[in-house]
C-alpha cells in the first residue's frame, strides 16, 4: 500500500481532494450525491477527457501541443462537409473520417518538429495560428447547424428514472471517452511502443543510444493526440448538435492545465492516464459543485483558476524550497542522472 502510494502520489492526493470536495458538496447541496449528477459530470467531462488523454501522450514524450483544440475544430468542420459529400454517412464513417483528419493534422506538427528540429511549443503555436486563421478564413466564421440526423440525435446507452422524475443517462460520448481512456492506458503502459515513449520523454539521448527511432516517437505521439482530438471534435459536435468554428478556441489551455494538474510533467517522462482523468474531473466537479450551490457562473472560472493555482503551489512545494535551511541536496552523491535542463 505504501509502495502504491509512493509511486502514485499525485493520483492519491487528487483523489483525496476530490473525495473531500465531494463530501462538502454532498452536505451543502442535495443534488450532488445523486446518480443523475454523477452521470451529468461524466457527460460534461467526456470531451475534455478525450483531449486530455491525447495530450498526455505528447507530454509524456517530452513535447507540448497548443494546436490540438483548434485542430479538432477543423476536423469537425471538414468531417461534416465530407459526410455531406458522401451522402450522410453514419457513426463508423464519421469516426473514421474524423480520426484520419485528426491524425493528419497531428502528423503535420510531428513533421515540423522532427524534420526541421523546431521546438514543439514554437511549432505548435505556429500551427495553432495557421489552423485557426485558415479555418476562420475559409468558413468565414459561419457555423453549421444542419448536421446529419444520426450525429445530432442523442444516443443514450443507459438510463434510469430517478425519484424526483429526472433522468440519469449515460450518453455515447461517455462510452467513447471510456474506450479512448482504456486504449490510451493500454497503449502507454502495456505496449513496448508506449514504454519507449516514456523512455524517450525521460531521456531522449539515452533512448537514441538504444536505437529507438526518435522520428517514429514524435509521429506516434502527435498522431495519437491528433486521433484523440479528431474523435473529441466529433463528440463535441454531437454533444453541442452544431459545429461552431471557434467553439473550441482556448480549450487547449484549459485541458493543458488539467493534465498537468494530474501529474504529467512538462518536459516529459512522467504522467498517468488515471491522474489525467482525475485532473479533468477535479475541474469539472468544482464547476459542477459551484453550479449546484447557486454560485454565479461568472465566478466559476475565477474559483477554478484559484484552485489550480493553489493546487500547483502546494504540490510543487517542498519544505526545503520554502526554507533553504532544511535543504539537504546531497550535492556530492545523489545527483540525478536524468537530463540537464539546458
Amino acid at each position: 500500500m505504501r509502495k502504491l502510494f509512493l509511486s502514485h502520489t499525485t493520483e492519491f492526493v487528487l483523489f483525496a481532494v476530490i473525495i473531500a470536495m465531494s463530501f462538502v458538496l454532498g452536505f451543502a447541496t442535495e443534488r450532488f450525491f445523486t446518480l443523475g449528477n454523477a452521470f451529468d459530470l461524466l457527460n460534461i467531462s467526456a470531451v475534455n477527457i478525450i483531449f486530455a488523454v491525447g495530450l498526455l501522450v505528447v507530454l509524456i514524450a517530452g513535447g507540448i501541443d497548443i494546436s490540438f483544440a483548434v485542430a479538432a475544430s477543423i476536423v469537425q468542420y471538414v468531417t461534416v462537409l465530407a459526410l455531406e459529400r458522401i451522402g450522410g454517412g453514419g457513426w463508423v464513417s464519421g469516426l473514421l473520417i474524423a480520426a484520419c483528419f485528426g491524425i493528419m493534422l497531428g502528423v503535420i506538427n510531428a513533421f515540423l518538429i522532427h524534420r526541421f528540429r523546431i521546438i514543439s511549443i514554437v511549432a505548435t503555436i505556429a500551427t495553432f495560428n495557421v489552423y485557426f486563421g485558415l479555418l476562420m478564413f475559409f468558413t468565414k466564421g459561419v457555423s453549421i447547424y444542419n448536421l446529419p440526423d444520426w450525429l445530432t440525435s442523442r444516443v443514450i446507452l443507459y438510463e434510469r428514472e430517478m425519484a424526483d422524475g429526472s433522468w440519469a443517462e449515460i450518453t455515447l460520448p461517455v462510452v467513447v471517452m471510456a474506450v479512448c481512456t482504456f486504449a490510451t492506458w493500454l497503449f502507454i503502459t502495456r505496449t513496448t511502443t508506449g514504454r519507449q515513449l516514456y523512455a524517450f520523454g525521460d531521456n531522449p539521448e539515452g533512448a537514441r543510444r538504444f536505437g529507438i527511432n526518435i522520428g517514429a516517437m514524435q509521429f506516434i505521439a502527435y498522431g495519437w493526440l491528433g486521433l484523440m482530438a479528431g474523435i473529441a471534435g466529433l463528440m463535441q459536435a454531437h454533444y453541442a448538435q452544431e459545429v461552431v468554428p471557434n467553439a473550441l478556441y482556448g480549450r487547449e489551455l484549459d485541458v493543458l492545465a488539467a493534465v498537468v494538474l494530474g501529474g504529467a510533467r512538462l518536459g516529459g517522462g512522467k504522467g498517468s492516464v488515471l491522474g489525467c482523468v482525475l485532473g479533468v474531473l477535479l475541474v469539472s466537479i468544482t464547476q459542477n459543485g459551484l453550479n449546484l450551490m447557486g454560485v454565479s457562473p461568472f465566478a466559476f472560472k475565477m474559483i477554478v483558476g484559484a484552485i489550480i493555482l493553489v493546487a500547483i503551489t502546494l504540490s510543487s512545494t517542498r519544505i526545503g524550497n520554502l526554507a533553504p535551511v532544511f535543504a539537504t541536496r546531497k550535492s556530492t552523491d545523489a545527483r540525478p542522472a536524468d537530463k540537464g535542463e539546458s
Binding site: I119, I121, I125, A126, I308, I312, L322
Partner: protein, 328 residues
C-alpha cells in the same frame, strides 16, 4: 562575404538578420503587389495598431528570457484596464478629472504588478512550472473579470483620454510613442542593468546563477512584476483606443506575442534574445497584416500567414545552421 556578415553582426547583432530580412521581403513583396502599400496610410495604420501588441510582446519577453512564460498578460491587461475604468467611473465617469485618471493609472499599474508578484512568488519559491502558474493565473483573472463585469463592456470615459489612443504629437501617434518608450526602457533594462544581466543568467542556468551570488528569487519575482506592469500599460492603451473595456479584449494577442518573440530570435528555453529584433519582428507582423488587408484579406488569413511566417523563419534557421555546418 564573411567580412560583410561580420560587419553586419557587429552593427546589428546576429539575431537581427532574420527579422530584417523578413522586413525587407514584406516591403518588397507588398510594395509590388499593391500600389497603396508604400504610402503614409499604411504606416499610419501600422503605427496605431502596433502598440497594443507591441507592449504585450514586451510583457511576454522578459519571462521567456528567464526560461518561463507569462500566459496571463492579456487578462492582466484587461483587469488593469478595468481598474482604471472603475476609478474613472467612481469619480464621475465622463466628467472625471485628470486626478482620477492619474490615480486610476497608478492603481492599474499596481494591479498588474500584483498579478506578477503572485506568479513570481509561486514560481520562485515552489519551482512550479511557469506555464502552469501563469495559465492558472490567466484562468483566474479571466474569471474574475467576467465575474465583475458579467461579461459586459465598461465605457464612458472623459474625453481627454482619447488622445492616448488616437492622438499624435508632432505627427507621431501617442500610442506609438508609449510603445517606443517601453521598447527603449526594456532594451536598457535588459542590456545594461543588473536585473537584465541576471535575467539572462537565470534563463540559461538558474543554479549556476545562484551559486554566483545572484538573488534568483528576487530577480524572478521582479521579472514577473515588470511583466505585469507592462501588461497593465497595454491595458491602458487598449482602454483609450476602444474607449471601452471588456474582458477578452486582446485575448487573441496572447499567442501572437509568443510568436513575435520567437520570430525575434528569442530562445524558447530562455537566456538569449534581445528587444530590438523582437521590435522589428512586431513591425513585420503588423506590416504583413496591413499589406494583406490592402489585398483584400481579413484578419483571420493574416493570423494564418503569421503562423506560416514563423514556420518559414524556423525552417530557414534550420537550413542556415545546416549550411554553416556543411561549409565548415
Amino acid at each position: 562575404m564573411n567580412a560583410l556578415a561580420a560587419r553586419f553582426n557587429a552593427i546589428f547583432g546576429a539575431d537581427m538578420a532574420g527579422p530584417l530580412a523578413a522586413l525587407a521581403a514584406v516591403l518588397i513583396v507588398f510594395g509590388f503587389a499593391s500600389p497603396h502599400f508604400l504610402t503614409g496610410a499604411t504606416f499610419g495604420s501600422v503605427a496605431f495598431q502596433l502598440p497594443e501588441l507591441g507592449v504585450l510582446a514586451l510583457a511576454m519577453l522578459m519571462p521567456i528570457l528567464t526560461g518561463g512564460l507569462n500566459l496571463a498578460i492579456t487578462f492582466t491587461a484587461n483587469i488593469a484596464g478595468l481598474t482604471l475604468a472603475w476609478t474613472l467611473q467612481a469619480n464621475g465617469g465622463i466628467d472625471a478629472g485628470s486626478g482620477a485618471f492619474l490615480l486610476g493609472t497608478a492603481l492599474a499599474l499596481a494591479v498588474g504588478a500584483a498579478s506578477g508578484l503572485v506568479m513570481g512568488l509561486v514560481i520562485a519559491f515552489t519551482r512550479a512550472h511557469p506555464i502552469l502558474v501563469s495559465l492558472s493565473m490567466m484562468i483566474f483573472l479571466r474569471g474574475l473579470g467576467e465575474f465583475m463585469t458579467r461579461g459586459g463592456d465598461i465605457s464612458g470615459f472623459p474625453t481627454f483620454i482619447a488622445p492616448i489612443g488616437h492622438g499624435s504629437i508632432l505627427g507621431i501617434p501617442v500610442p506609438l510613442l508609449i510603445l517606443i518608450a517601453c521598447v527603449i526602457a526594456s532594451h536598457i533594462l535588459l542590456s545594461r542593468s543588473k536585473l537584465g544581466f541576471s535575467t539572462y543568467m537565470i534563463g540559461s542556468n538558474i543554479e549556476s546563477a545562484r551559486y554566483s551570488g545572484i538573488n534568483t528569487r528576487k530577480i524572478l519575482v521582479l521579472v514577473y512584476m515588470l511583466s505585469g506592469v507592462m501588461a497593465a500599460v497595454a491595458g491602458i492603451i487598449m482602454l483609450a483606443r476602444f474607449n471601452s473595456v471588456r474582458v477578452g479584449h486582446g485575448e487573441s494577442y496572447l499567442l501572437i506575442t509568443v510568436l513575435a518573440c520567437f520570430l525575434g530570435g528569442i530562445n524558447p528555453f530562455g537566456g538569449f534574445g534581445r528587444v530590438l529584433p523582437v521590435f522589428v519582428a512586431l513591425i513585420v507582423l503588423q506590416l504583413l497584416s496591413s499589406g494583406l488587408n490592402l489585398l483584400g484579406a481579413n484578419q483571420h488569413l493574416t493570423t494564418a500567414v503569421w503562423g506560416i511566417l514563423l514556420i518559414v523563419v524556423m525552417v530557414l534557421r534550420w537550413l542556415s545552421a545546416k549550411f554553416i555546418r556543411l561549409v565548415k
